[in-house]
Every structure is written in structure tokens, then in C-alpha cells.
């Protein structure tokens, strides 16, 4: 990857997409020959080519792949890299179908361009007569999400990239490109295409001994008709998929050259520190900037209505001056609220819904009858708190609004949304905004919101010169879009044999995915699941695994309680519930076997199991806890995961490790509380993170259970960890944790 290009390109450069320079994912320029490709009228390549290629030595074959004179194949990735390894995994999928030489594959993030947000791209990138991939893809979990959405909104989230964009777009594009190259060679060599093979970016005709690089036929390839139905490989032919290829983005992340949003460099740029009204929804009624205006480096002090900004020569100067400002805020309805009051609201709403109220999400059988007739009845209520994302890179954005143009630099999970948000904030048309995306210093859902982009654009519009706005960690913690706090109530019934026959659940909020509270994989004859909505002044945002993060805990805790009530082992009980689903059972069994389930543990040690399919992947985890010390210590986590097919085993394993730490941090410590409507936590001392000395050993087993239906990787590792740990604590101590975080509870 070329690193020679830096972010100092003039951001105002007209009509030229400069973000590739910004992210440092370089375009390798060849030497002489222009490798051309004829472009159909109306084909997006027409428009995309100037954005994606150097216009000399490189040419697009279609919207997703280009080949240059040095036979470098570049995959154009319509997703953002936030550590999940998506650049590499998607490139593996394209390169494998294309038979590209992996060592000569490069990666380019797609521009925040409407061509990459159009659902028609799914057709246009190949040919109008190509069999269109199903627009609506029913997910394994039952929800309906549009394929075009992943490509369409150019959104990265929902563990969606590999399973949708990779499966449907990248592989098809790679296969089509390969067939076009083969057809071009067949025509030139006057041999049947069927006699031609490809390997390592070479086109080979064994009979005649001819062999040429892809680059030689790139021009002619484009004149071939586009294949209507490119043939995809069967798994036994995969050469690059399924391999633990090293991630492309790692080298620049160990030498300080990787450019994140906060690293944007714009000539003449100044810095802004911001403080929003502590209670969301309040406005800044007045500011006293007497001291701030005398402080060194200060350029401007802005009351933006909903927040205060100080612009200075340096960020630290801006922040110091901001700290000296005394601001007054308007009163809001949220002012008097604290966490207890919020949970009391939830309780009231749930009480009001009673046994039959609320919105029905799913229902089967007759729960009323089944519960009435149950031999054993169990009721339980669980609570989880608000959670902040706490990305390592605090929220930030650099913006420059001048002469009817706007440039924005940031790391965003939905670059097109960010571009639109900046356009609206600047009062400019979408086309006059250039959005430069960078690496994300953690996304986890937080960077799917555009609040920082809007704030920075408004500041920059007011100043007229480029401004880099950086949130302090305190601001980042107190002004997040939180994972909602939630309460969930269950009533379950067992028959005389200890079989789970009735499941009645009602919970607060339903956000996404819609199937998160449901348990279609568990065989329970009568069940109904309902929700109530409770209004709230805080802003909610998607937080890694979204609703599964709380429902995984709720469901798997209650299943464990039911197992206990039935006098059964948690693993055996789940096996009964999964009877008839061999793929699910295999995952559960694998985790249990790895952990030595059933074998003796020392006193005050315990094992807990949890099983949560989400985002198309099936994950089971067994956690081991040591309760001998002052606080719980999670010593080991065994993971079995079946995402259908694992494109990059090392990358997928890393995602499991990562999700476990993210989920374990929340389970043990995570809690955002409110006082007088404002968030009380501010930084890592009062919103603590799991650190290396608390890191459990993690062992991961991967299962390829269905290569046709891929699941996601970024999120599914998270939901099982909290219940696996609390179930283990129960096994070790007999104490059932019904409210997170674990740190709230005393084990002395």
C-alpha cells in the first residue's frame, strides 16, 4: 500500500476525490500503458473512473475492481475499516473468485459517492441483464434487511459487510471480472474460453503454453459482453477465502502512519473544544466568557444554542478556555431525572401492560393456559443500565465551509450519511460537499451517528476557516448516544418432567434487530414476547450487537434459572431446547466440550454457559469464574461459533476475542447513571474499562456450518458473555445476578 500520499491535498480540489490520499490506502501507479476499458453508456464506471483511478495507468473493470499496468488488482470496498478487518475479508472474497494473486491485491475504500449508495449498483455494476441478487434478503434471524442498504447507505454495521456485500457483490464482481478477462484472452488467442484457466492473476492456455498477466487483457476485457451469470466457486475451490490472511491495515497501525479522523491535516486549520448542555435537550441560555476571551490562543467563543465552542490556535488552549466559561442552561423535562426514576418509569409501564398489554412481538401456543397448568412456575425481572461506547478515539470532525463548498474529514460508519449531514448543516447541496473518511478509532455503533459532523460543520460555517473539533473524553462520555437501559420480566413454566413449556416475556424498548428478544431456535411450545415503549430524553444509539446486548443477558439468564428450577444442568437443559436443530446443537456441544463441562472445579469457582444466535451467526460460550477474591475474576472463556463459513479465521477469531472484552467490560463495570438529568460519568476513572490484567484466556473454535448463508463477525461474540459470566457466578456462589453490572453486587 502506498503511503506516499498524505492528507495535505488541497481539500478544495474540484471534482477530484481526494479521500484515498487521506486514508493512506494508496493507489499504486504503474508506469506507462493506459489500460483502458470501454464503458457502456450509463454505466457508473463513467463517473466512478475519475474518482477511483489515476486516469492513466489504471482502469476499472467494474465498480468494484480495477487492474493496473503492473497487474495490481485493486478491490474497491464499500465499507469502512474500524478494526473488524473488513478491507481484508472483502478483498479475499473478490480476489478468490477472480483468481487474483493475493500478494498483488490492493484495497481502496469506496468514495462517499451516490453511486455506491444506489441500490441499482447491485445491477449496474455488472450488466442490466445480469440476474439481480435478491433485493430483500431474509436474514437467518428472521428480520428483513435490504441488501442495498449495506451497499446502499454505504453503512458499516449490523455485522453486515461479509455476509451481504461480500457474498453478493464482491464475489460476483470478482467472478465476472475473471470471466471477462478469460473471454478477452480467448478472443485474442483464438481458442475456446473453456480451455483457458486462471491462477495468481495470470491467464493461462496450457495447450499452447500461452500465459499472460491480467493486465494485458484488461482493456480488451472491457469490450467483452458482461457475463449474465458469473459462476461462483464451490467451497472446495476456495484458495483465498477461508485462509487467515494478514490484515492489510495492520502495518500502518504499528508505526503511527495510519490516519484516523482526529489526524486530519488541513492547511490553516484551527481547533475547537466543545461543551454541550449537560442535560440533553437543554439550550445554552447565556455564557460568561470574561476569562476565556483573555486566554492565550483563543480566536472565537461561540454560543451555538445547544453547545458552547471555543476556537483557538491549539486544542489544549481551546479546552482550557472552554473550562473557564460559565454557562447557564435552560430547564427541561429531563432535569429532575435520575436512574431510579427511569427504572421506576419502566416498572410503571410494565405494570400497566400487565399480562396481556404492550406490543406483541411474537406469539405461539397458549401461554396463559400453559403457564396456568405448569408444574413449576418461575418469575424473574432483569435490569441492564445505560452504556456508553467509549471509543478510544474521542468524537471529532474537521470541517471547512467556504465559497459555497464544504469539506469534511472524519471517521464515520456511514460516510454518505455524514456527507448529507454536513450538507444540511452547511446549507449546501450534497454535491458541493466532499466527505473524506478516515480510519475509525473504534466504531461500535457510535460512529453511525452524525452529531459530531453537524457540530463541526456549524462551527466551521461560523468561522469561515477550517476547524478541527475534538470532544474531550468527558464530553464523549456524557454526550453519547447510549445503549438504552432496560428492564425485562419473565414468567416461565415447567411441566412435571422439567420441560420448559411456557415462556412469557415483556421488556422495555425495541430498537434493532427486531428479532433480538425472540428465541425461535428454542423449542418452547407456548411463548409470547411483548414490549412497551418508554419515552426518554437521552439519545439512544446502536451499541455493539445492539438489542442482543441486553436480550442475550435476559434470555440466557432466565433459561439458566429455568434449568435450575428443573433441577437440570444448564448445558443439558439447553440441549433439550435445541433438540432437532443439529447445527445449533453442534455449536453448543463444541463449547461445552472445549470447556470440559461437568468436570470438577475448585471451590468458589464456577462455569456458566450461554447460547445466542445473532446477525446470522451462532455462538455459544462457556465462562469460568474465580470467586475467591474480593471481586469476580473471569479466568477463561471458551467460544464456539458458526457463521456459516469463515472467510478469514484469524480475523473472525479476533472479532470473538474483541466482542468478549467489549461485552465483559460492560457486564462487569459498565454503567452510565444520571443525576438531575445529566450523565454522571466523565472519563475512564468512573467509567472503567477492562484492562490487560483482567483479560481471560479465550479459546475459539470455528465451525463452517452452511457456506451459502454467511453470518456476521463483529457483533455475535458479544451477547453470550454477560450471561455466561453471571451463570458462572451463580454456579460458584449460588447468587443470581439479575441486574448489571456485576460490580454493583457484593460477594463478600
Amino acid at each position: 500500500m502506498s503511503k506516499s500520499e498524505t492528507a495535505t491535498d488541497s481539500p478544495g480540489k474540484k471534482g477530484k476525490w481526494t479521500r484515498r490520499a487521506f486514508i493512506g490506502a494508496g493507489v499504486v501507479a504503474g508506469s506507462a500503458l493506459v489500460v483502458g476499458v470501454a464503458v457502456r453508456q450509463g454505466n457508473p464506471i463513467d463517473r466512478l473512473s475519475p474518482l477511483l483511478t489515476d486516469g492513466k495507468n489504471e482502469q476499472l473493470l467494474n465498480a468494484w475492481v480495477k487492474v493496473d499496468t503492473d497487474n495490481i488488482v485493486t478491490a474497491v470496498i464499500p465499507h469502512v475499516e474500524m478494526g473488524q478487518g473488513v478491507y481484508t475479508a472483502l478483498a479475499q472474497m473478490l480476489a478468490d473468485e477472480m483468481d487474483a494473486d493475493w500478494s498483488k491485491v490492493r484495497i481502496l475504500e469506496a468514495p462517499a459517492d451516490m453511486q455506491y449508495v444506489s441500490d441499482s449498483i447491485a445491477r449496474d455494476f455488472l450488466a442490466p441483464n445480469l440476474e439481480v441478487p435478491a433485493i430483500f434478503e431474509p436474514t437467518v434471524s428472521g428480520g428483513i434487511l435490504e441488501l442495498a442498504q449495506a451497499m446502499g447507505l454505504q453503512f458499516t454495521g449490523g455485522s453486515y459487510s461479509v455476509r451481504a456485500t461480500g457474498q453478493r457483490a464482491m464475489r460476483t464482481a470478482g467472478a465476472a471480472a475473471r470471466e471477462m478477462l478469460v473471454a478477452a484472452a480467448a478472443s485474442e488467442w483464438q481458442v475456446p474460453a473453456s480451455e483457458i484457466t486462471t491462477a495468481d492473476s495470470m491467464i493461462i492456455h496450457a495447450k499452447s503454453g500461452k500465459s499472460e498477466p491480467f493486465a494485458k487483457f484488461a482493456l480488451a476485457a472491457a469490450e467483452q459482453s458482461l457475463p449474465a451469470k458469473p459462476t461462483l466457486k464451490s467451497p472446495d475451490k476456495y484458495k483465498i477465502m477461508g485462509q487467515p490472511k494478514a490484515r492489510h491495515d495492520i502495518p500502518e497501525k504499528v508505526d503511527g502512519t495510519a490516519i484516523f479522523g482526529i489526524d486530519a491535516k488541513v492547511p490553516g486549520m484551527k481547533y475547537a473544544a466543545v461543551k454541550a448542555a449537560p442535560v440533553i435537550g437543554a439550550t445554552v441560555t447565556s455564557i460568561d466568557a470574561t476569562t476565556a476571551r483573555t486566554m492565550p490562543g483563543v480566536l472565537q467563543i461561540l454560543n451555538m444554542g445547544d453547545f458552547v465552542a471555543v476556537v483557538a490556535d491549539g486544542y489544549w488552549q481551546a479546552q482550557q478556555a472552554l473550562n473557564s466559561i460559565d454557562a447557564q442552561y435552560s430547564k427541561t423535562e429531563g432535569d429532575g431525572l435520575d436512574l431510579d426514576a427511569i427504572f421506576a418509569r419502566y416498572a410503571t409501564s410494565l405494570d400497566e401492560a400487565g399480562e396481556d398489554g404492550g406490543d406483541m412481538e411474537t406469539e405461539a401456543g397458549d401461554v396463559g393456559k400453559a403457564f396456568a397448568g405448569a408444574a413449576t412456575k418461575v418469575e424473574a425481572e432483569y435490569k441492564v443500565p445505560f452504556l456508553a461506547h467509549a471509543t478510544m478515539e474521542p468524537m471529532n470532525c474537521t470541517a471547512w465551509v467556504r465559497d459555497g463548498k464544504c469539506d469534511v474529514w472524519s471517521g464515520h460508519q456511514a460516510p454518505v450519511n455524514a456527507r448529507q449531514a454536513a450538507a444540511d448543516a452547511a446549507g449546501l447541496p450534497f454535491e458541493d460537499v466532499t466527505y473524506h473518511n478516515a480510519y475509525l478509532g473504534g466504531g461500535f455503533g457510535r460512529r453511525s451517528d452524525s452529531d459530531a459532523v453537524i457540530m463541526a460543520t456549524r462551527i466551521a460555517k461560523a468561522t469561515g476557516y477550517p476547524v478541527k473539533m475534538i470532544w474531550s473524553r468527558e464530553e464523549d462520555t456524557a454526550q453519547d448516544h447510549y445503549r438504552p437501559s432496560a428492564t425485562s420480566r419473565f414468567r416461565g413454566g415447567l411441566d412435571k418432567d422439567g420441560k420448559l413449556v411456557s415462556w412469557d416475556n415483556i421488556h422495555t424498548h425495541l430498537f434493532d434487530p427486531k428479532d433480538a428478544p425472540t428465541i425461535p431456535y428454542y423449542n418452547i411450545a407456548s411463548h409470547k414476547i411483548r414490549k412497551v415503549d418508554v419515552p426518554m430524553h437521552l439519545r439512544f444509539g446502536p451499541w455493539r450487537s445492539v438489542d442482543h446486548s441486553q436480550h442475550g443477558f435476559f434470555i440466557e439468564s432466565f433459561v439458566d434459572e429455568m434449568a435450575d428450577a428443573a433441577g437440570k444442568d444448564g448445558y443439558a437443559f439447553r440441549r433439550e431446547l435445541l433438540a432437532g436443530s443439529p447445527r445449533h446443537l453442534k455449536v453448543l456441544d463444541t463449547a461445552a466440550k472445549m470447556s470440559g463441562w461437568g468436570s470438577a472445579l475448585p471451590e468458589k469457582h464456577g462455569r456458566g454457559i450461554a447460547f445466542v444466535p445473532s446477525f446470522g451467526s451462532i455462538v455459544a460460550q462457556v465462562a469460568e469464574v474465580d470467586m475467591t477474591g474480593a471481586k469476580p475474576k473471569v479466568t477463561k472463556v471458551y467460544v464456539a461459533a458458526d457463521p456459516g463459513f469463515v472467510v478469514n479465521p484469524d480475523g473472525f477469531t479476533a472479532q470473538m476475542e474483541s466482542a468478549i472484552v467489549y461485552g465483559l467490560t460492560a457486564a462487569l463495570y459498565g454503567e452510565i447513571t444520571l443525576k438531575d438529568g445529566a450523565v454522571q460519568q466523565s472519563n475512564f476513572h468512573d467509567y472503567p474499562m477492562l484492562r490487560i490484567d483482567e483479560m481471560p484466556a479465550v479459546e475459539v473454535a470455528l465451525i463452517n456450518g452452511d457456506h451459502k448463508h454467511l453470518g456476521g463477525g463483529g457483533e455475535p461474540g458479544l451477547p453470550p458473555i454477560a450471561p455466561a459470566v453471571t451463570n458462572a457466578i451463580f454456579a460458584a456462589t449460588g447468587k443470581r445476578i439479575r441486574e448489571l453490572p456485576v460490580a454493583k453486587h457484593d460477594f463478600a
Binding site: K270, N303, G427, P429, F540
Partner: protein, 157 residues
């Protein structure tokens, strides 16, 4: 304005802003102190230590800038990442109300004499393994003495 395709959003939060939305509000109040590139307004010379009694204390106060990100030294000011240090000299370790100390520090049994502070600040983790004070070590002995002198000067009213 360009028309965006409205597809089913993953959640309501992701719904794209409506076309033709009004620009976000500009500033309610805009104080322009100076333009970029203009010479900085002369600011008061750095405040001289208000208590000239001891040059050492003044030196310690300056060096304490290092510590003030975590420790407040104003009476009644809340604890930060570290405890409020008003009256710390002579106090038992773990004795500041409302601060969540590490188990190690609480159990240390130390009373913060100048000598104990000196060895702690020199290398906190070596003195009390397990302390959450992971930054702020002062290698320079003279600087430590100055900081401790400064801390001694800050007593509860």
C-alpha cells in the same frame, strides 16, 4: 438538493436527513477575539505565585501542573481520576472520602508523611503494587521535594 434513496433503515436513527432540511442553526452569540494569523492579544504575564513565602512552594505549584489533570487541590473540589489532595500530608492512605481507592492502596497502612510521599511519587507502582496511580511519577528528587512542599502548604481551612 440531491434526492436520496430512502431504503429501509437499520433503525430509525439511520434515516437520512430529509431533503431540503433547513441549515442547522448558526451561533446565538459569536465572540471574535481575533482573526487567525493576527498577533495574539497581550495577556497578563504569568501570575506570580500569590504566596511569596516560599520559592520552593511556588516551584512545587508550577510542577503540580503535571498532577492537576487528576488531583484537585481546592477545598471541597470533587475527586477526579485521583483524590482531592487538600491536607494530604499527614493523612492515612486511602483516607479521602468518596474516592474509590485500589485495594492495594487501602491496605497499605501508610501514613502520608513527606518521606512516604517522596518514595511513592518517585515510583508509585513500585511502592504500592496495584495502585491505580499509573501516571505522575516524578523522577527528579528536587522536583518531588517542591511538590511535597506545595502539598504541605495546602491544608484544610
Amino acid at each position: 438538493m440531491l434526492k436520496l434513496i430512502h431504503v429501509i433503515a437499520l433503525s430509525p436513527l439511520f434515516v437520512l436527513a430529509a431533503c431540503g432540511a433547513d441549515p442547522a442553526p448558526g451561533p446565538v452569540e459569536q465572540i471574535i477575539v481575533r482573526e487567525p494569523g493576527a498577533a495574539p492579544v497581550a495577556t497578563a504575564a504569568a501570575a506570580v505565585a500569590s504566596n511569596p513565602a516560599s520559592a520552593l512552594i511556588a516551584e512545587g505549584k508550577a510542577a503540580f501542573a503535571n498532577c492537576s489533570a487528576c488531583h484537585a487541590v481546592e477545598q471541597g473540589a470533587p475527586n477526579g481520576a485521583g483524590p482531592n489532595l487538600v491536607g494530604i500530608v499527614g493523612k492515612a492512605a486511602g483516607g479521602v472520602a468518596g474516592f474509590a481507592y485500589s485495594d492495594a492502596l487501602k491496605a497499605s497502612g501508610i501514613t502520608w508523611t513527606a518521606a512516604e510521599l517522596d518514595s511513592f511519587i518517585a515510583d508509585p507502582a513500585a511502592k504500592i503494587p496495584g495502585t491505580t496511580m499509573v501516571a505522575g511519577a516524578i523522577a527528579d528528587s528536587a522536583e518531588r521535594q517542591a511538590v511535597i512542599a506545595y502539598l504541605e502548604s495546602i491544608t484544610a481551612n
